[in-house]
Amino acid sequence: MSVIAAPPPRRRWSRRLANAWPPALVLAVVVGLWAGVGALVHAASDVLPGPDLVVRSTWQDRSNLWPAAWTTTREAIFGILAAIVVAVVLAVAIDSSRTVRRSIYPLMVASQTLPIIALAPLVVIWFGFGPLPKIALVALFTFFAIAVGLVQGLASADVDATNLLRTMGASRLQLLLRVRVPSAIPQFFTGLKVAVTYSFVSAIVAEFVGAQQGLGVYMTTAKNAFRTDLVFGAVLVTAILTLLLFAIVTVLERLALPWRRPASATGTP
């Protein structure tokens, strides 16, 4: 017979460590397998470079890698910012007017069925090889997740709260700013987190098609020189940067929602 006892209260950091070690363990196993398989089959370094080689070469080539990473990071961030602007405008319009909702929302969903990767060459033809087409493509890739989150969030506003403010004589704008927008913030961040995970990938895809600098260019160059270790390195850097951006959004989310009841809080005074 087992008795389920409530876990003892833990401090914040020890709980974070407790949350961190399972994925860290899995990661260690994967890296170990990577190194082990490479050693076992005596893989050539241009097919499967070992983790140690990847880290070493990437570090040696950092003077080339950093500017590339910085270019792509800028494209990803500006793309996300553009996506936020587009998503906010669309979501508020969709939320405010039934006509807009009926005419725009289906098109917005349909826009996601476009093969956006296939659009990349077109965007380059229109906007050239600079950063603009990359930003446009990142925005195109990511606005949808943000917009859908916002539309749902705005619609999730509590009917009772809305009615209450109406009885106080609130205007539509006041209702939007004081009830609907605050209600939408949690789902906005959910959408934003999804968008962030797409952002680097879409910037890199745009760079594959044509660019002067960036991680996409770096990977193409490394591949053409059979420097598989550097391709791996660029992939790793992309993953780390995406995680970093994700972490920043998580922090912003916490700052934007100070009123949210912490999940660990129990009871009331």
Partner: protein, 282 residues
């Protein structure tokens, strides 16, 4: 009343006279048929009076409030405020919904002042008005707390403070204590009476709790099950100020049994007055 006037400042106002005449409300349903929710409701609250509406769930009590507050229009009948037909009623009465309606992203003080804020009162001025009342409402230490940090009774007090602060001549309270335990409830009822005494506005209260209606109200309207009608009107002629001790009195018990009987639809209040009561309306 001088100290109360000082304390509540502009929040204090003379009560309004509310009158519903032959109010009817029909909703059209999905299958095209009409659902009659209110079928001729007459109700009057004199200036400064405390009126309770009691009835089984689904009898249209809340619909009466939605119409009074201006959220919905009546299908038929008239709504008179201070004797004048008032078709645009949003912003006229202070409405306290059944669930407290506190906005989770606003601190207690900002929830309390939202009515003033929407009315265009500058933030600093609204806070200045709210701060002494927070104390009076037992929320002094919780001005900066988030709503989730409050207990159920505190949430209701915060919601009621928000309602009082709007400074409207009439307050509509929709089952304000419905979700509270008995002890908290008794305390808050007592306290509500004290505040009402100081504020002086007209109060209409919806409840499904018979002792609550008797304890608080000058007059109780008993509603029939849907379609809602006024089945009985009972004047509660108990002396004021009232304290919870009054619940032990025989008159209190008589009023209670009379309301219970009316709720069951058995008694015609005009034909069968209960002991110790006076002044029914037909």
């Amino acid at each position: 009343m001088a100290p109360a006037r000082e304390r509540y400042g502009d929040a204090m106002s003379a009560g309004a006279r509310l009158e519903l005449r032959d109010l009817r409300k029909r909703f059209s349903q999905a299958d095209g048929s009409a659902l009659t929710v209110l079928d001729g409701v007459d109700l009057t609250a004199e200036p400064g009076e405390f009126v309770a509406v009691i009835g089984p769930s689904g009898c249209g009590k809340s619909t009466i409030f939605h119409i009074l507050a201006g959220l919905e229009d009546a299908s038929d009948g008239a709504v008179l405020i201070d004797g004048v037909q008032t078709p645009k009623r949003l912003g006229v009465c202070a409405f306290m919904p059944q669930r407290d309606g506190l906005l989770p992203w606003r601190r207690v003080i900002d929830n309390a002042t939202i009515g003033l804020e929407l009315a265009g009162v500058p933030r600093a001025q609204a806070r200045e008005r709210a701060l002494p009342l927070l104390e009076r409402f037992g929320l002094g230490e919780f001005a900066r707390a988030w709503p989730w940090q409050l207990s159920g009774g505190m949430r209701q007090r915060a919601a009621f403070l928000r309602t009082v602060l709007m400074g409207k001549p009439a307050m509509l309270l929709d089952e304000p204590f419905g979700a509270l335990d008995g002890i908290t409830r008794g305390d808050l009822q007592q306290w509500l009476l004290d505040v009402w005494d100081e504020v002086g506005s007209t109060v209409v209260l919806i409840t499904h709790d018979v002792p609550e209606a008797v304890f608080l109200a000058d007059r109780v309207y008993v509603m029939s099950p849907r379609p809602g009608r006024i089945a009985a009107v009972v004047e509660i002629d108990l002396p004021r100020p009232r304290t919870l001790a009054i619940e032990e009195s025989p008159q209190f018990a008589a009023y209670e049994s009379r309301l219970r009987a009316a709720l069951r639809g058995r008694t015609d209040p005009v034909d069968e007055p209960a002991a110790g009561t006076a002044g029914e309306r037909p």
